[in-house]
Amino acid sequence: MYRMLEIDLSTGETKVKDISGLFSKFIGGTGVLTYLALRELSSQLDPLSPQAPIFLGIGPFNSYFPSASKTVAIFKSPLTGDLGESHAGGRLAMAIFASGFHVVKITGKAEKPLYLSIDNEKVNLVPCRSLWGRSALSVERILREKEDNRKGKKSILRIGPAGERLSPIASVTVDSSRHFGRLGLGAIFGSKNLKAVVISGNRYETIQNKKDYLSLYNELFKDLAYSENTYKYRDLGTSANVLPLSKINSLPTRNFSQGFFESAERISGEYFAENFLAQQISCAHCPIGCIHIATLRELFADPHMYKTIKVSYDHELIYSVGSNLSIANAADVLKLLQFIERQGWDAISIGVVLAWATEAFQRGVISISDTGGLALSFGDSQTYLKVLEKIASGENEFYKDLEKGVYHCAQKYGAQDLAMHFNKNEAPGYMTGPDAFVGYAVGVRHSHLDCAGYSIDQKFLGRQQDIEKEVKMMYEESLWRMVTNSLVTCLFARGSYTPNVVEKGLRLLGYDVDLQWLTKTSRIIHGMKYLLKEKLGFDFEKLELPSKLTKIYTGRGMMSTVDFKERVKVYAKLVSQDMYLAKEALNQQL
């Protein structure tokens, strides 16, 4: 049985619902949450109002199979006003499963700061006024100790001060350096006076058909732990991309001015591994171990007083506060990242904002009186650290604006052509060509994770373009991710979770499915997402390519608006068929 726990922070009331029916129709994870969100999110809903719901959900594979380690969060994004969807690892999926639920829905608003404690069915709203204002890192230390009397493994979600300030680029940090990073879930926590969620339990499920289960489990485990499919993630991690991307003009540098970063070698995955990598760690029940933890030892007083910080890094972070700010010093990248971790901003978004501010300053759109005397320069990490401090302290209007996202800033101050966002979401770290950019624009969450266009671009490097074929590839990748994001497996495990494996796994868990059903369901989920997006104001025709990107060389050469629009149109056409399918399915549902 799949159950949903509903919690109203205003009243403290809780409800438990059996949602097994939804799981059999929409698999779980993103499929089920999209269905639930479609009924509750509207264009009128203020995402920071008490009524705005937060859905956290896992799927049928979580805890059953290795690297099914992700939890999906769905909400209305305070950054874009559109669908907010973000996925996080850590121990959360395991803990939600152990609490006996598959979906947790949070609504309402607490009168004063509190944290939500879930231990099996036991739900407590615990006042925590003294935790308000504390960093995302310190809150975890405190709560892990405070809640240590519980027996089951805990997962701890919390916001830093950025979320309390309702910054729409605030993230929710999960356990050790995992995040619901994108699209502003942190601000929603803040708006509800919800500082943290601690969840654990000791519920379990009994294995049916052990022989077949073990045989599939072992096949997956071997592949995930030892095969080439995951080698890259275990070894250097995603930061293995830094050098190769720079070589093909695809590593965003100085606010997407070029794709070649002359100092890429000094912030490469190889450089970090050799000089800073302390160890790899993993999410619960994932043998890959992709989380790269760096240590940075710093002299803070002569002659021999040292401190050591630990902070995780990966490609996106190295791009956003490294190459895109022209910072060629790996230690400085780590220092900026630690500050960002403590405040609880999405690292991609805040990096893109800093890059925009720098270029806008250099163009004269931002003045020295805006910055309070700071001259913003690419590569000047000391000044960037000061800027982050000023944003954190809310020093003046300009700094307060910076944490509202790059779209907001460009609307207010100008230099809109320099604002690297797609549908108001700050751009991720690949400028490989049209498929990357179109992917950010058309994707359900405007992220590189929707359809991995950057990877399709690389397949077409140096080849004749084929718009229909490329867009079809993006679409098909996006569809398959509807399935894996419903299970919910990690994207790094996608090489192991092939359609046949997924079918076998679902059948073992009692789903009556075949490959055809999977395809159809993926299209229905995909369609539901766009129905929801449309309801919230999303329109393919309004999508734009930041105009700066038409003037620079990407991995695949120059971009043109015409080409961009053409690809969007092809994608929109494919999506419209899915929306039709989804409508049909929803009608039957009623």
Partner: protein
Amino acid sequence: MKRKLVVKDRERCIGCYSCMYACTRSWHNIIGIEKSAMRVKNYPGIEGAFSVRVCQACIDPECAEACPTGALKPSKRGYGVDLEKEKCIHCMKCVRACSANALQWDEETRMPLPCLHCGICVMYCPTNVLEMQEVMINVQNA
């Protein structure tokens, strides 16, 4: 030669809990980790610091000595302990007596979870933290 479970190289642990899933799955036929006889502990705020607690395979076990009913007894295999569930009175004295803090407790049944040194956890450790080691038992103790 008999073998026991030991932690060979703690610092290699990535905290994936595959060991605990394997133990729970194999001996209880369930999905979860809370019935595992060994435990990977993590510490607040220290990214990547794990402590791996496994039964010490004592020849003269403190847990068995503390058991008032003889439910937990030194195992016939010569090291570690066996549990006779019917005799357990759920007093938890065994868990408190284990000076290595390694004996795990089943919250649901309110009984200890003695390790049988089967080695299933070792098989699923992707980074070779765990190992089965030969046990040398003095004939007098056997």
